[in-house]
Amino acid sequence: MKLIKDILNRYKGVLPASLSIGIFMLIPILIIVVYSFMIPNPNGGVRTGFSLASYQKLFYDYDLFDNLVFNAGYLKIIFRSLWISIISVVASLLVGFPVAYYIAMQNTERRNLLILLITIPFWTNLLIRTYSWILVLRDTGLINSTLMSLGIIDEPITLLYTEGAIVLGLVYTYVPFMILPIYASLERLDIRLIEACRDLYSTKWDALRYVVFPLAKPGIIAGSILVFIPSIGAFIAPELLGGGKNLMLGSLVQLQFSSGRNWPFGSALAVVIMSVVLIALLIQAYNARKNGSEIVH
């Protein structure tokens, strides 16, 4: 009894925060893992009993005669999600790196202002930011009406409800996650290294490629992970800009828990998302360790 009292007293500061996260987040995630091995209840929820059916459903389906047949439908959605997320990471890097470099090279006052300008949209409502792209992309939207009034096109181009629109929305939403870590690693960059390169007759681009880029690598890796994690489970961008016809993992999970009423299958899909995220985090931890040891040497 005294021991428990002692521990409670010692840890009372961290307990409210860690207990609320432990009870309302860690335990629920464990329940999801358990549910993914159970049997669906057609009214929602699960029935007890062990079953691998949810994971089997990722690959196989039953045909009319109750035979198992290979079904690529769900795999396609998983790979589409991976593909769209990777494209979004690459696009965020291409867009984010020059901006991060530009900001890092400004004087202190301007740097702070530009960083604030990057963070403001990032804190504003995700739904509204994505919705605002509908106003730009749809057939009667800004781009199409401008191009048509300039006489460049006669009929509106389909921009909305495409995979490109999803990528555009994801990059728009998550590019600050790329810019901030790259900026953080470039901000500490010693300018004299670039000076030394230039003194030794390298071009500006070579200095960027052989000096700045390697030094920015930890920021680039951190940024890529930070863009990848929310993209793989994205829900709003695929729903609003993809029009629900380019289904991604996030929507598929949501569907299983609402109208689909197959909680174990939804849980299995959530486990798939978490595994992908875990792999990404492990890659980052590995890289952080490698980069850390390089600095020590």
Binding site: G13, P16, S20, I29, L126, V136, R192, L249, Q254
Partner: protein, 274 residues
């Protein structure tokens, strides 16, 4: 060394002589900032359009704002959003402050990195997973508190957002002042009340504001956890946007946008204060 470096950057050099600038990068960045703000500007501008069309400009009008304010559904959703955000912010900020103080100042606590890891956990899990996991848990234990369910869910994922600025502020604070107070016979609670908390206050405000906008803007977790009738503003907006675009939604969105911008700017400004 880093000081010289910072000073270096503040010296004005003609652009073509500046070894740091790369051709095209400044134009590219300008283009980027336009890309970042253009859709939001369009949204705001068309919320003041008198015509029902959300893309063809007619004339300036605030009619859609009056219409939005008079709409019962919007009023109800806004009220729910406010109640949830206020309570979630309150709980999350208190918990985060306690945790930051314990991890930053207590010498008795072991496994600090484990506790930090638990507190940061909500940032590592994709929101959709958190959403369905919370829904599953609430239904498994049969918890049905109406708005209470949403408040619990929001509190949990607002904790890390409140925690980070508080922790950062605490790390930048001189522990010497607290030691000095204790040397002058202040007891622990007086030191906390008269020295630590006042110094920590900007971090706490900054954290509370971030927690507030995270809660008021949340969509996917609320969508899954909310019971019938417990709509928040983002849920209402989503429901309408799926059916089509109305200028009324532009008006509501603009208001939410302005609330967020005010809070982020305030949070940034207060957090920077020395």
């Amino acid at each position: 060394m880093s000081n010289i470096n910072t000073l270096d950057k503040d010296i004005k050099v003609p652009k073509h002589r500046d070894i740091r600038s790369l051709p095209g990068f400044s134009w590219f960045s300008l283009g980027f900032f336009i890309y970042l703000y253009l859709p939001l500007f369009i949204l705001v501008i068309f919320s003041f359009n008198s015509s029902i069309s959300a893309t063809v400009w007619e004339s300036f009008s605030v009619a859609w704002y009056f219409k939005a304010f008079a709409n019962d559904d919007i009023q109800r959703a806004a009220k729910n959003s406010m109640i949830i955000a206020v309570f979630a912010t309150l709980f999350a900020t208190i918990f985060a402050t306690m945790a930051a103080l314990a991890i930053g100042r207590s010498k008795k606590i072991k496994y600090k990195s484990v506790f930090t890891g638990v507190i940061i956990l909500p940032l590592m899990i994709p929101e959709i997973v958190t959403a369905v996991a919370t829904l599953t848990f609430f239904s498994a234990i049969g918890l049905s508190l109406g708005l209470g369910n949403i408040i619990i869910a929001h509190t949990v994922f607002c904790i890390p957002f409140a925690y980070m600025p508080i922790r950062a502020r605490l790390q930048g604070m001189d522990e010497g002042l607290e030691v000095a107070a204790q040397d002058l016979y202040a007891n622990k609670s007086d030191t906390l009340r008269l020295i630590t908390l006042p110094l920590l206050a900007p971090g706490i405000f900054s954290g509370a504001m971030l927690a507030f906008i995270i809660s008021i803007d949340d969509f996917i977790i609320t969508l899954m956890v909310a019971e019938a009738g417990a709509n928040t503003l983002p849920i209402y907006i989503y429901g309408i946007v799926r059916k089509g675009i109305t200028p009324e939604i532009n008006a509501v969105s603009t208001i939410l946008l302005i609330i967020s911008i005010i809070f982020v700017t305030l949070s940034y400004w207060i957090g920077k204060k020395r």
